[in-house]
Every structure is written in structure tokens, then in C-alpha cells.
Symmetry: C2
């Protein structure tokens, strides 16, 4: 590896090939603290061309490359594996917003741009970049594209996949793919960008993306519903879509357990209801112009939900601080959980109509097998995505518990990763839930684009045995 | 080929391996009448398993397979090439709607289901399947998935790609991929369905799809605007999105030329305005519940468009027949064009903000080079997609004219196929507009999934030379 690093240092004006011991390389670590991080070195290219030069060199020398952006991933997808055997390639210095075109409802940002900065730039152009994530203040465009990030606005605006119009990327042999288009419709050949979106750095390094923008909603209406249980969930979703139509932006579930964790472990929050309730549903709708009509729509939804017995009570936010307080309860859940000692996390998804039954079944099965465990289920129920997190006593076999959850997910035709991806933490689980044919197809795609296994080996799929020919550049 | 056909006849209970001379095989022809169609035979499997058996046999014998559904494509993607050297595999007998799940907002239909039947089934469940195509009465699910069909509702609901939640398909070696999921969010590995959507039958045979349904809009508001020219288009699009928000369903442009073609060649239509205008913009918005508010929104848009001078006049439809009459003008354009002797068609797209300038530039450049040509530009301008059709005198060099159009498309960072695909008619043009790297990537994907070039060879990409080993089944 020393010779290869010397070659990189000699060939690339990278503004630093950092030694892993360099304090400036300290940002390369696992967000969740579960995985060690021992990169061979940390590269900080300042342009797409420098990324290309570096990757071409790595391909020639057979050095594995781990693309790194915000480092906020939850499955270890950007953490180097092994002992100083993988090179981390940070795209953080590619942080330019290259263009904003309001007439085209599009913006082109480099991979190192922080999502919150992209949101702000869109807002300054009078538009909206709708990706809304807990980590939006630190996650970056390269990362959200590579992981097909979801978040709280998926119900209305889709996943990152739906927000990407074009990509620029460096392929595993160092060639630059210039695919920065802003077209809404383009059926001229296979849609190549779909390969890279959600590929978790295993098929190339995303260096820039052209992103869809939307009209900016001037009005938001937010409310919290108290539910008697999980049974009314499917009905509430259908009702909310019918009454609020496409203005429905978010539907977020959390339970009494979650609310109590927040109230117990964090300050500045209060229970908006006079008495405890089993479940809570946060609803948000937004509109551009007619705030009064929007409020009427949301009130109509609340009234109908209560009339049908699907909600026991409801608190509409009367102003922006109240709306923020309600959202604050939902957004505080991960931190409260961490303060309570952490949880075994499961980012799972099931068909929309089955979510209530699925969470109820999970609660029952967990209670039977792990009587001391506490289920904290919350998430984006408008998309069938629930974070099925379980607080367990020390010494619990976490792998066995997850296996139980994933078995139930399979029974409900669901997914073991709705939005966080596979990375290294779910790589083994993936081999359990996907058919041999699907695993072979994943491998076929990987081998077609990265025949020498240079890009983020060991993520999403097991690393292939090293190439026999020493990793020469494919044709 | 005779031996292979005998093997197929012997092995597969297909309810008919039709001789091409059989009148029952007459449906296999080119929709546009531009291409001859000489299949080696026409297979009509009745189940996914029969498709798999047939494809496995074809793979073993190296017989090329051309998947065929509705046969309404406009680029020859489903037409067999050569003289009785390719087998047509019709999926028309796979015509069952397997399930409708209103709580899951999803429906699973086999590849042979006609789109209009899927629309009707969704409607009976109180929901909407939003794909809206001129050919919806005859095109089929397998075809719209394989071509990533677009149509008139893309602005609000997206392309077919955005409507597909899961797929079942037979791969080029005859294996069945069971990918019928209904999940909104699933980041468990590369999104394999993205490969097959829009692949034009070159990577496998789609046998069924799970499709997204939406709340059914109970109210529609439609109007026709008369424009002074193309300059206000980008402004009108932004204004319509701002005022009508996500209720905006369609924005369709056509010119005076198109309207006159309709009035001259077809009966039952009339000019809704008292005087002629250079351009017309059809706008539709729809809502589930509050029809009065919807009408007010559309009227607000019309008033503001006229106040800004972007529209000279506007006709709102006051009832359903009037709305249908306005849509009728737009929908009659292809037929009127055909009656006028046909046109050189270009299904192109450019960035949203550039559409007006692009059409104006095309008109100017065509007038200079082809003074006798008549430009009939119309289409889905809310998506940047315009059908740039040119009526030309006999003897015009159609290829040279198209080359001129495609050159202009390149200058505007556009696409030579926004929604119709590549098929065989645009295969050569694709090699002109895509970079060598992109063409290599398309080929890499094709070779990874169809290493023996069995699936629809000669479509989208040139046929690869025949495999040396006789086409054995890949691992």
C-alpha cells in the first residue's frame, strides 16, 4: 500500500493525501460508533478531474476506494473496512452549487454540498428542494444520492431517486460520466443514473447532481392526533390523502413509549394532550397560496378522523412555534432513545395497508420472546416505513432479536431496509431475505460496472476475491 | 430455425406457436407502417411459467425473442427484424388483474392487460391509475413498462417508471424474477426494476407489474389559452404551478398550424376563439373534493396570465362536454396530421425553461433549410416534451431533416427521445447523440443481463455478433 500511496501523492495535486493519524482526517468515523475506522489514507480531491485521476490510479494499483461525503449514514456504508487497506475518498471539497435555474425548476450541486445549503439556495430562488432529513445540516448531496435518502417528505415529493434529474460521476476505472441533464422525460436508452442512485458507492463516485426543485409552499398546517391504537392507521392514511390531496406532506407515527422517552430524557418538550394515549400521528399539509383553505382542509380531516373514532383527540398547531413544538416531539425521538441507552434499530417497511398490523404483531412477538425489551416504533407511516427500534437490557443477543424482526418483515412482504441502505451492517441480513436470483443480479450489475471490485468493496455485497490481473483498467 | 420451432412446439403447451402466415398472427405489425414484419413464428404463452419455458428454450437454441404487447409503439421496438429470423413472444394472453388493494393504493396486473382496463379497475376501487395515453385503449402494461411510457399526466404523476412499485419478469436465460413488491421505500440493494423499466424488451420479458394508485380526482377544471407566441411559455408554466400547485395535471401546447390541420381534415371540431392566434395552451387541474376552489384557482391563473400579457384570450370549459371538446382538439392532432399526409416525427425534449426558445429556433431553422415544410409542434410542455413534427413535400430527405432537428436538440441539452424510446428507428441517431462512454455503459448493462444477446436484438443497441458457444444458459 505504501507504494500506491506514494504514487497518489506524486501524481495528484489533491490538496492533501492525509495520513489517517492526521487530526484533519478525524471526520472519517462511523456515525453510530459501532464500527472501527482505519483508512489507509484520506484523499481530499478538489475537483471532478482530481477524483478521476485518483480513482484511475487506484484502479491501476488495485487499491479499494471508499467514497465519503457527510458521514451520517447509519449502516456503515462510508466506513473503511479492514486495517489500513482501503482508501477513503472524501468529496467534501467539491462543494460548489454550479447553477440554479428557476425557469427550469432545477439546480446543480456538487457532491460535497450540504443538503441544508442546497435547501437554502433553492429558497433564495423562490423554490423548494424538498428533501427533509434529520441530518440535513450535515449530510451531503453525494451521500443522499448514493444512499437514495428518504426522510419526512417522501409521501409528497418522493425519495432522492425521484429528485435527481442528472448525475456526474467518476466510474470505477476513473472515467468521468457527464450525465448532468435536467430533462423530465428522457427515454433515450437505459436510464443510467438509476444505477448509481442508491448504489452506496459501490458502482462509482457521484461528483455532482442536477436536482428537481418545486414551488415553495408558503403555508403549512400541522396537527397531532391521539390514536386509540394502531388499527385505524390504514384508514387514516386513506382519509388524509382524500381530504388533503396532494397537499399532504407528512404522516409520522410515534407511540406513547416514544413520547415518554422524550419527556423523560430531554428538556423543552411537553405532552400536548391532557391524558396519555397509546399512539400519536403527526400530520402536515402545505400549500403555496391559500392558507385559509389549507387550514380548513386539515380541520376537516381532524374532525372526520374523530367522528369515525379513528382519533380520540387532536391538537392543531395555531402558529409556527406550535407547529415546531409538535414536530420537535417527533424529531427528538432518536436523541431521547440514545439518552436512554440506545436501541437495536430496524429501518423496515411494509405495504401501506399492513403497517398497523405489522407493528402490532412485532410488539406481540417481541414481548413474548424478550419480555424486558421496550419497543419504540416510529416513522414515516405514509410511506409504509417504520423505525422499529427496541431498547434492550445489556447482554441481549441483538442479532437474534433482529433476525426475529426480519422474519416478521418477510412475512409481511416488507423490506429490511426502507431508507438507510445495506452498507456493511445489513450485508449478511440481505443474503437471508433476497432470493439467490436477486443476489446474482446484484452481483451481475456490480461486476458489469466495477469488474475489478475497486469501489467500496464489502458494502452492500461481500467483497469479491481480488482480481487476478492486478486490476488493470477495463475497456 | 425449423428445428428450434419444432422443439418449442414439442416442449411448450403454448396454446399455439403460430405460423407467421396464420391470420391470427396478423396483429404483429408496425403501428406506423414504416417497417416490414416477418417473424419466424408468433408465440402466445398463457402464463409466466410458459413464458419462462419458451425463453429458456430460445436461449438454449440461440433464437432471438421479440417481446410483443399492445404493438402501439412508434419506434419499431416490438417489430421483428430480418427475414423470419426472430421469434415474436406475445404477452397478450397474460391478461389477468391479479389483485387490487385499495388500502395499499396498489394493483397488480399482468403484462397483457390493456391500460384502459387497468384504469377502469382502479376506478371501481375508488382510485386512479393515472397513466393517460392516446393509445390507452389498446396499449398494454408490458409495453408501457418496457417503454417507460409518458403521456398527458406526467406533469403531476410522473412517467411509468414512477408508477411501478414491483415487477415480475422472465430473464434472458428463462429464469423468473419474482419482484412484485408494493413498497414505497426499499433501499435493500440496487433497484433492479429500474433496469427493466424502459429497456424496450432488451433485458427481459415483463410478465406482471405492481402499480401505484392515487386518490381519484372528482373534479376537473380545463381551459384553453390563446398565446401571442412561444415567448411566455416558461412564465406560464411557473405561474400555473404556483397558482394551481400540485393540482396542475396537464399543460399541452399546440400551434395555429395544428388547429388548422384539425379543422380542415376532421369533422366535429371548432375553433373556440373568435379569431386566430399563434399558439394555444391547454391547461388542466384536478382535485378530489372542492370543485369550487379548483375552478377559482384555474380562473385566477387565466386572469393573471392575461393581465401579464402572456395570454391574449382564454376559454374555460364550463362543463364536461366543453372540457372534452377542448381536449379533443389536442387529441385529434396526430390523426389530422395523418390525414394531411403524415409527418416526419420527432419526439424530443429540452429543459423546461428552454422549450419556447427551442421551438422558435426549430421553426426558423427549418424554414430556412426546408421552405416548403410545415412545422406542427405540439405536446407536453409542462414536462419539456414537444412533438416536433414536420409535414414535408414528397421527395424530402427525411433523414437529413431529422439530423437537423437532432442537432438543434443537442444544442439545447435535450433528448432525441423524450417518451417514445429508441427501438430500431432511432438506434442510429442514438449513436450520434450519446457519448462513447454512455454507449459503452449501455452495452455493459445489456451484456451483463443478456450475455448471449437473445432479447430483442437490434433494438436500442445494434445486435451483437452471435455468441461463440451457441448460447448456453449463463450461470
Amino acid at each position: 500500500m505504501a507504494a500506491e500511496l506514494a504514487a497518489l501523492r506524486a501524481a495528484v495535486a489533491l490538496g492533501g493525501v492525509l495520513d489517517p493519524a492526521d487530526p484533519a482526517a478525524g471526520f472519517v468515523r462511523d456515525e453510530r460508533g459501532l464500527l472501527p475506522s482505519h483508512p489507509a489514507a484520506v484523499l481530499r480531491p478538489r475537483s471532478t478531474e482530481q477524483v478521476a485521476t485518483a480513482v484511475a490510479l487506484c484502479a491501476r494499483h488495485g487499491v479499494p476506494v471508499v467514497p465519503f461525503a457527510g458521514g451520517t449514514g447509519l449502516v456503515g456504508g462510508a466506513v473503511p473496512l479492514g486495517e489500513a487497506s482501503q482508501l477513503v475518498l472524501s468529496v467534501r471539497a467539491l462543494d460548489r452549487i454550479r447553477s440554479v435555474d428557476a425557469a427550469d425548476f432545477a439546480l446543480t450541486a456538487e457532491a460535497g454540498c450540504v443538503v441544508a445549503d442546497v435547501q437554502r439556495t433553492a429558497e433564495e430562488a423562490g423554490l423548494l428542494f424538498p428533501l427533509r432529513l434529520a441530518s440535513e445540516g450535515s449530510c451531503r448531496i453525494g451521500g443522499v444520492v448514493a444512499t437514495n435518502a428518504g426522510g419526512s417528505n417522501v409521501l409528497r415529493y418522493g425519495m432522492t431517486r425521484d429528485l435527481v434529474l442528472g448525475l456526474e460521476a467518476v466510474l470505477p476505472d476513473g472515467r468521468i460520466w457527464h450525465g448532468l441533464r435536467s430533462l423530465r422525460k428522457d427515454n433515450s436508452g437505459y436510464d443510467l443514473k438509476q444505477l448509481l442512485i442508491g448504489s452506496e458507492g459501490t458502482l462509482g463516485v457521484v461528483t455532482a447532481a442536477t436536482l428537481r426543485l418545486f414551488p415553495r409552499p408558503g403555508h403549512r398546517a400541522v396537527a397531532l392526533l391521539a390514536l386509540p391504537g394502531l388499527a385505524p392507521l390504514a384508514g387514516l392514511l386513506a382519509l388524509a390523502r382524500e381530504v388533503c390531496e396532494d397537499r399532504l406532506t407528512a404522516l409520522e407515527l410515534f407511540g406513547r413509549t416514544g413520547l415518554e422517552l422524550v419527556l423523560r430524557h430531554l428538556t423543552g418538550h411537553r405532552d400536548p394532550f391532557a391524558r396519555p394515549h397509546p399512539q400519536y400521528l403527526l400530520v402536515e399539509a402545505s400549500a403555496g397560496r391559500d392558507g385559509a383553505a389549507l387550514t380548513a382542509q386539515l380541520e376537516h380531516f381532524l374532525a372526520e378522523a374523530i367522528e369515525r373514532g379513528w382519533a380520540l383527540d387532536a391538537v392543531p398547531a395555531l402558529d409556527r412555534p406550535q407547529a415546531q413544538a409538535l414536530w420537535g416531539l417527533r424529531e427528538a425521538l432518536p436523541e431521547a432513545e440514545k439518552r436512554a441507552g440506545g436501541a437495536v434499530k430496524h429501518d423496515v417497511g411494509v405495504p401501506l395497508g399492513a403497517l398497523g398490523a405489522f407493528v402490532a404483531a412485532a410488539a406481540e412477538r417481541l414481548a413474548r420472546r424478550y419480555p424486558a425489551a421496550v419497543l419504540n416504533a416510529f416513522g414515516h407511516v405514509g410511506d409504509g416505513n417504520v423505525h422499529l427500534n427496541v431498547l434492550v437490557p445489556a447482554g441481549t443477543d441483538r442479532a437474534a432479536l433482529s433476525a426475529l424482526v426480519y422474519e416478521l418483515v418477510q412475512e409481511y412482504a416488507g423490506t429490511i431496509s426502507a431508507e438507510h441502505g445495506i452498507g456493511v451492517l445489513k450485508r449478511e441480513a440481505l443474503t437471508q431475505v433476497r432470493s439467490p436470483l436477486e443476489l446474482a443480479l446484484l452481483r451481475a450489475v456490480k461486476d458489469a460496472l466495477d469488474p475489478h471490485g475497486i469501489m467500496n468493496p464489502g458494502k452492500l455485497l461481500a467483497a469479491a476475491p481480488p482480481a487476478q490481473d492486478g486490476g488493470s483498467t477495463p475497456k
